[in-house]
Every structure is written in structure tokens, then in C-alpha cells.
């Protein structure tokens, strides 16, 4: 994973709560055996009209939201399935951070492992961001704050290990493999007890 330290972008807003992984990427596209190229399918059934053209009612299709890398979404974003295709699709679509007052566990876990900043904010600040689409934000992973255009700062929670991995581009599988001896010792202990 490449290090992620700072993201600067205008915000795009999806006010809906409970945006589930089927809305992020419908299940019929999960027959792929690749990670790449899922951006064109992101929010597929919301984003396109029946003839394949862009749905003008989809907020991210509207000009100010186009090209934004920071998504502010309604509470409980990413609920539903464990499909990692959801963060893969968002990243490939150009979203690098999702700001929310609550994010579904598996989605958040998957997102952070791919360098997609899935960040939980306090409700009041989240509400304010939902109500102010299109503002310029700067996310500082090291210092754990979101800088507002007026110089104000919003803090966010981030699990320390996830933060460390983001900042340093740590390969978590490599980290686990580094504990190979402890894993072997555990297996021997359990098998002896059985």
C-alpha cells in the first residue's frame, strides 16, 4: 500500500443514510476475478440512466461534485456485505476519503486496508459538512484533523495501527508474517493441549 498522509479536495455529498454495499457496487458485477477497473461500476444503478447515460439527479454527477476526492456521506455508510469491491470501486472512481458519523465495521476495515480514508466524525460536525457540499477540505492523517477553509479544524478518530499503516504504507500481511514464530508457538500450544 502506498502511504497516505494528506488529502486535499472539495467535498461531494451524498446525504442518504445507510448507503449499502449493493448501492456502491451491485452484486451482479462481483463475478470479476480482478481488483482493477471497478470505478466505472461505482454507484452503477444510481449513477446511470436506463440508456447508459449519466443520471443528472445523482449528486456526484453534478458539476461541482465531479472530480471530488472527499465524499461526505450520511450515517452508516457501507452497511451490508463484506465485498471489498466496494472500496476498490470507490478508489478507482476517484474517492480517497469518506467522512461519516458512523461507518459499517467491515467496510471501514476493508477501506483502510486499501488506503481509502474511512473516517468517523462527531455528529454535529458531520451534519455541518453534509449541509455544506463543495467546500475545500484538507485531511491530515498524521495530526488527525480535517482543516476547513476558514482555518477551523475537525478532529477525527482513527485506530492507531491503521493510522501507522496509512502513514508508512505498511503492508499488513508482511506485519503478520513477521509474527510467524508466535503463530507457530500458538499452534503447538493448542495442539499439545488437545
Amino acid at each position: 500500500m502506498r502511504p497516505v498522509t494528506r488529502i486535499h479536495s472539495r467535498t461531494a455529498v451524498l446525504t442518504d443514510e445507510n448507503i449499502d454495499t449493493d448501492r456502491i457496487i451491485p452484486a451482479r458485477f462481483l463475478t470479476t476475478t480482478e481488483r482493477a477497473g471497478l470505478g466505472k461500476l461505482c454507484f452503477n444503478d444510481w449513477r446511470y440512466q436506463a440508456d447508459g447515460s449519466d443520471n443528472p439527479a445523482f449528486p456526484l454527477n453534478q458539476p461541482p461534485a465531479r472530480g471530488c476526492a472527499i465524499l461526505v456521506a450520511g450515517r452508516n455508510f457501507g452497511c451490508g456485505s463484506s465485498r471489498e469491491h466496494a472500496p476498490w470501486a470507490l478508489l478507482d472512481y476517484g474517492i480517497q476519503a469518506v467522512l461519516c458519523s458512523e461507518i459499517a465495521d467491515i467496510f471501514r476495515n476493508n477501506a483502510l486496508k486499501n488506503g481509502l480514508l474511512a473516517l468517523v466524525l462527531d455528529e454535529a460536525e458531520h451534519r455541518w459538512l453534509l449541509e455544506h457540499p463543495g467546500i475545500e477540505l484538507s485531511i491530515d492523517v498524521r495530526e488527525q484533523y480535517v482543516a476547513l477553509p476558514d482555518g477551523g479544524r475537525i478532529g477525527f478518530q482513527l485506530e492507531p495501527f491503521a493510522r501507522h499503516c496509512l502513514l508508512n504504507g505498511v503492508d499488513q500481511l508482511g506485519y503478520l508474517q513477521h509474527h510467524g514464530d508466535a503463530i507457530t508457538a500458538y499452534e503447538q500450544r493448542v495442539e499439545k493441549a488437545a
Binding site: T15, R28, E34, S81, I106, K113, L173, A182, Y186, E187
Partner: protein, 470 residues
């Protein structure tokens, strides 16, 4: 010694390295279940890094999500929805051969939905940690296992190291007291619970279901309850193992045999929360208040007794959900016209679910214009159902009797509803487009699904159940 919850006991027994402020725990995984959809990129990762599976003997694979539920033709060709689906299945076959994983594929008499066959094979056992790249892995918690869904990156972690990096989740006890009324079952209960605590009511938590009602349940019913824990946002759902659990597991192919069985049961009996164990949260549910329950919106938390009026939308999202469902505030869901009925999925495709649906359908017909699919959860369920003649009940009623798989629950194998169609479904998710673009899903029990198929509208199954009417 401080009193511990069931969750803490299972968690503590699997800690390879404890968590610190800076680092999560390294948690050992006893059983890794694999299917074709969420594994290919993980196998590719292993290949790129030149790694092997650490414990193929703790890994079990099946084909279920992308697989057609119509049988192969005379030439053995299966009617895959797309060439990509066929390639995905072939990829898992190749991967399992190359990495030495036991695959219950097309030629296996045990193939089926991953969360149905794990328990059937006795691979799922009390006290285990079980993961799968599938959120409904929570199903296995019915056996007192800590079982949860993971993403594909973590699938790779488990393949390579048999471990995961995990922060300890919080605990939520749901006490179910009283007694479920006649004709009201496990599915009604879990929909009711999610309606009470909300679609995110369990986020960050592992749920332990407790109380007389849970203890009186069969394993099939417990699996239905634990299966939908994720629909309340919970990482996992657990039920303490007891004699019901042990009797169900005994003699299954992967269960301990002989003296090892006795030792295992002795150990498993300790897997219950100690008196006075503290949970982070507790919720009480009065089972006697549960009625046949269905969903009316576009997430499983929008659930209500079918005879109660649909609540008015409190915000734009709820209005959008009601509009999508064409549900009318103030009117009950009961009586709504039905286009398709689906009985199946890891929530409700076991033998008892099929018996429940067949009980309602016996001697009756699916209403004119309604399409009904019955998809058994596994080859074993199919065999058992056919030996009881249940398939004849379904086909005589006009329903389609299919080959095991996930089918219309996730609708990625070609089994799907058309835009605007209303589906009464025994599955677990009623998200927009889940069962086909524009399809409207109403989650329900197998009995409600069957009664609705007969009536052609959402119907109270108690009107069709002899033992309830008597």
C-alpha cells in the same frame, strides 16, 4: 477470577499476540471458509508473493454465489448467467487444486451455500474462530463459535498466516424472554429485533443471544437468528452451545469421534457466559409480542408486524424508501400484491425451512401470475427434502424446485426479479436493487413466503397452518 462472557472466552483462547494501544491483537482462525466471489484476488496475491496456504487443512471451499440453480444440460453444460461467472467458478477450481484446498464443487455430494455446509459437515464447532469473505459468516455463531465476515485482503491474510489483526469488539447481550406465539418463528423474531435496535444497532459489537426462547430453539432456528446479526451492523452473533448443539453435531463427518467427542463436549460445556459477566450493552426483547414480521423499506431495520400500519416517513431517506417500495404509510404490508416468492438463502434454506414452506403449500397452488422459486441450501438439504417428498409438494403447487446455491438472495447468478416486481423473500437483505435492478424486496419467514405465494399477496401464514388454526 472475573466473570467472563462467552465471547471473551472464545476470543481469549485465540489470541496469538495481545492487543496494545498501538497494535491490534493477532487472532488465530480455526476455520476459513472460501467461495468463488471474494477469494480470486486473494489467491492472486499469494501467487504474486510466492506464498502458500499456511493451513489448507483449516480451509474449506464451495461454489455457491455465481452458480446457476438450473441443472446442467444433456452435455453437462451449466447455464451460467455470463461467461465471467463461469470463469470465476473455474478460477476457484484451479485455485483450490493449486493450493491444496478441499473444494466442494459440482462433483461433490456436499456442495451448497457456504454457511449451510460448514455446519452440515461438522466443520463448524463450538468455541472456534471462523471467518469467510462473506458477511453472513455470523450464521456459525449459532454453535457458540466466534464467526464473522472479512474482506478479500483479510482472506489473503488468513490464507497466508491463519491469523487476522483485530481490535476486540464490544459486547451486546440480547435477552429474549417470554414465548413466541404459535406460528411465529425465528425469522419473525430476528426481523423484529433488527426493527427494534436498528440497522446499525449492533455496529462495533458482538451480539450474544440469550434467554428461554433462544435456549428452546432448534439449531436451524438459531442459525437463522445469528445469520442476520450483520443486518443490525454487528460483527458477529453468538449463542452458547448446549445439548441441542451437541446432539446436532454428533456423528457429522468433521466432528470429533469416539473418545475425542466426549472430551470435546466436556470442553464445550464451559463455553457459556459466567454468572455476573458484564456486557457493554444489554437489550431485552419480549417474544410474546412478536407477530409475523416483514420489511416495508429498503434496509432490514425497516421491519414491522405485517398487520401493523407502515409508519410515516420521518425524513427524506425514509420517504425515498417508501416510494421505492411503493409502500403506503398508514396501511399494513399485509395484502400487498406479490409477483415473486423466493424461499432460500443462508438465512432460510435448511430442511426445517423447506418443511415450513411445504406445510403451508401442501394441497394448495401458487396464485396465478406469481412465480415461486424454492432453492435448497445444499445438496444434503436437497436429498433430505426429496426423500420426504417436499419437492413434489413444491412442484405440484406450481413452484420451481432448484439446484442449491445463493440464487435470488444476491441475484448474481441470473436468478432475479424484474424492475418493479415485488418479491417476498426468505433472504436477509432488502436493499434497493438487491434482487434485481428496481426489484422490491420484502423479507419474511418461509411460512409467510409460502402463504403469500398462495394468496398472491402478503398473507398471514397462521391462516394456512393447521396446528395453529386447530
Amino acid at each position: 477470577m472475573t466473570a467472563k462472557t462467552l465471547f471473551e472466552k472464545v476470543w481469549n483462547a485465540h489470541v496469538v499476540a495481545p492487543e496494545t494501544t498501538d497494535t491490534p491483537a493477532i487472532l488465530y482462525i480455526d476455520l476459513h471458509l472460501v467461495h468463488e466471489v471474494t477469494s480470486p484476488q486473494a489467491f492472486s496475491e499469494l501467487r504474486e508473493r510466492g506464498l502458500q496456504l499456511r493451513r489448507p487443512d483449516r480451509t474449506l471451499a464451495t461454489l455457491d454465489h455465481s452458480t446457476p440453480t438450473l441443472p446442467a444440460d444433456a452435455n453437462g453444460e451449466r447455464p451460467y448467467a455470463t461467461a465471467e461467472a463461469k470463469a470465476q467458478v473455474a478460477q476457484l477450481e484451479t485455485n483450490c487444486r493449486e493450493f491444496g484446498v478441499e473444494l466442494h464443487g459440482w462433483d461433490s455430494s456436499d456442495r451448497g451455500i457456504v454457511h449451510v455446509i460448514g455446519p452440515e459437515l461438522g466443520a463448524t464447532q463450538p468455541g472456534m474462530t471462523i471467518v469467510c469473505g462473506d458477511s453472513h459468516t455470523s450464521t456459525h455463531g449459532a454453535f457458540g463459535a466466534l464467526a464473522f465476515g472479512i474482506g478479500t485482503t483479510e482472506v489473503g491474510h488468513v490464507m497466508a498466516t491463519q491469523c487476522l489483526l483485530q481490535r476486540k469488539p464490544r459486547t451486546l447481550a440480547i435477552h429474549v424472554d417470554g414465548q413466541l406465539p404459535a406460528g411465529v418463528g425465528a425469522k419473525d423474531l430476528i426481523l423484529h429485533i433488527i426493527g427494534e435496535i436498528g440497522v446499525d444497532g449492533g455496529t462495533g459489537h458482538v451480539i450474544e443471544y440469550r434467554g428461554d426462547v433462544i435456549e428452546a430453539m432448534s439449531m436451524d432456528e438459531r442459525m437463522t437468528v445469528c445469520n442476520m446479526s450483520i443486518e443490525a451492523g454487528a460483527r458477529a452473533g453468538l449463542i452458547a452451545p448446549d445439548d441441542t448443539t451437541f446432539a446436532w453435531l454428533k456423528g457429522r463427518p468433521r466432528a470429533p469421534q469416539g473418545a475425542a467427542w466426549e472430551t470435546a463436549v466436556q470442553h464445550w460445556r464451559a463455553l457459556r457466559s459466567d454468572a455476573g459477566a458484564q456486557y457493554d450493552r444489554e437489550v431485552r426483547i419480549d417474544a410474546s409480542k412478536v407477530r409475523p414480521t416483514v420489511t416495508y423499506g429498503t434496509h432490514p431495520g425497516m421491519a414491522i408486524a405485517m398487520d401493523k400500519p407502515v409508519p410515516a416517513a420521518r425524513n427524506a431517506m425514509e420517504k425515498r424508501a417508501l416510494d421505492y417500495m411503493k409502500a403506503e404509510a398508514g396501511k399494513p404490508m399485509q395484502g400487498t400484491a406479490v409477483d415473486v416468492v423466493f424461499v432460500g438463502s443462508c438465512t432460510n434454506s435448511r430442511l426445517s425451512d423447506l418443511r415450513e414452506a411445504a406445510h403451508v403449500l401442501r394441497g394448495r397452488r401458487v396464485a396465478e401470475g406469481v412465480r415461486m422459486l424454492v432453492v435448497p441450501g445444499s445438496e444434503a438439504v436437497r436429498r433430505d427434502a426429496e426423500s420426504e417428498g417436499l419437492h413434489h409438494v413444491f412442484t405440484a403447487a406450481g413452484a420451481e424446485w432448484r439446484v442449491p446455491g445463493c440464487s435470488m438472495c444476491i441475484a448474481m447468478n441470473g436468478d432475479l426479479a424484474q424492475p418493479g416486481q415485488l418479491v417476498v423473500s426468505t433472504s436477509n437483505r432488502n436493499f434497493e436493487g438487491r434482487q434485481g435492478k428496481g426489484a422490491r424486496t420484502v423479507l419474511a419467514s418461509p411460512a409467510t413466503a409460502a402463504a403469500s405465494a398462495v394468496a398472491g399477496r402478503i398473507a398471514d401464514p397462521r391462516e394456512y397452518m393447521t396446528e395453529v388454526a386447530a
